[in-house]
Symmetry: C2
Subunit: 299 residues, 2 copies
Amino acid sequence: MDKRIEELKATVRADAERIEKELDAYLTSKDNDIDLLFETQRYATLDGGKRIRPFLVNEFCRLFGGSEETSMAYACAIEMIHNYSLIHDDLPCMDDDDLRRGRPSTHKAFGYATALLAGDALLTRAFGIIAENDKASAEQNAKAVALLAAAAGDYGMIGGQVLDLQGETEELDMEMLLKVQAMKTGALMECSARLGALAAGFDTDTKESETAGLYARKIGLAFQVIDDILDIEGDQVELGKNIRSDAEHNKTTFMTYYTAEEARVFAAELTAEAVSAIAGIEGSETLTDLAAYLVQRTA
Amino acid sequence: MDKRIEELKATVRADAERIEKELDAYLTSKDNDIDLLFETQRYATLDGGKRIRPFLVNEFCRLFGGSEETSMAYACAIEMIHNYSLIHDDLPCMDDDDLRRGRPSTHKAFGYATALLAGDALLTRAFGIIAENDKASAEQNAKAVALLAAAAGDYGMIGGQVLDLQGETEELDMEMLLKVQAMKTGALMECSARLGALAAGFDTDTKESETAGLYARKIGLAFQVIDDILDIEGDQVELGKNIRSDAEHNKTTFMTYYTAEEARVFAAELTAEAVSAIAGIEGSETLTDLAAYLVQRTA
């Protein structure tokens, strides 16, 4: 198993390097007067993160017979959305986190206003990149924009953040906690997988897209459960962000209801469900290994 | 002339009422748990503003033989973008304005974090609405997304805001001031007009789109010149926002270089250039009157 995980990590890393190159090109300023805006976006986006979401986009595209060339723009867009959300999440008015990926968070490094605008810029750019993807059809691109706007919007990520904030003043019950996590983290993971299917030619109403979405929802939730455990038991240096941040904000998490052991069992069940969703699809071993890797991670 | 301006105002008002209805429907929550997020967006978006940008979308669509049905989604999207930018602009880390349209600004009414997220939600939703516009083709919608992302992004509105912030610590020369205003205000005005042309079937590389863009750039700049005058000479109650806000922030404006009289001459010249751009197009009288109205406004 360990050898397979090592291979998986190498695959994800190789994919991440190609994504890095694309993001670097997208985030190169063509106007010196606004270099600061690009510098801020580069700081927040480049050289960091596991790149799980863009990997899901590209891997599901490959799994369903598409080419990475077609999905790469979608992959970069979703990574921009993820990074904008981290910038805004870290702001003083939100989680007020001063550490991210082992470095000062973006507003600590560039100031509050510039960080806010850099987040807005990444969010805006993501949609432009999708719309201009000349490796896919206009139909695919329009559907991809709609898919991403829904996942990142009111009934997805942003709605989840609003509920998450409410969870700081009132304890969420388990049903609501599951809903918040599905919106806040799950929606963008699901969107990543479905964007990959879309790039391979499978619309949101196809079995392929449904399968991709189910797999990603399950690993997304497992990912969040592990995050909650690591926020208590993890190593701050290895994680590169402040631990015990949830407790500090009085957040309801899975650790409110589970012991670490119970939480790990729950994450393992979710992982099994994710793996079962893609079982039997030729070439799905990489995604099986990804699910296993994410649940055993320590950072 | 006054009678024509009155008619123009009635036309704009009637258009604004139809836009209001659409925006109301878009901003109706389908999930009680996140009513607060919608309430905040409604507060920031409904019942306010002159709706100049969506009017430009619809009017240029009509001018070039298209139907308002096709352009209405684009019109609503641009108004959402405009209102998201006002929410974020008013935040304490930006202009720190507590008054907008005669009411407490959004963060004053709903708190910093919720206002930030409501802005993010409006920005995100705008692209979703365009992508799902079933009255236009997928090609048109993808092009509209690209056009809006460019106008609202790094080299447009957001870049202009970053430069505008820099203008608080260093005086901008006239060339740079013109550039900042073209990016910060002009780009979205130009985009509005070009979205209208696009909805009528005219791509960005057509003469029609160029004409629409030129007209809108000129009235956009004139609009900003008048704004700068009103920030000094205007009536706070009539304007519904704090005056002398520019001076308070040490902002370079057209009033840094011009007397009020000189500024009015400049605005009149820009208006004449805008009118000349559309002269000879059948049915362009409404847009001629709009240019005249915007330059003589007192609020």
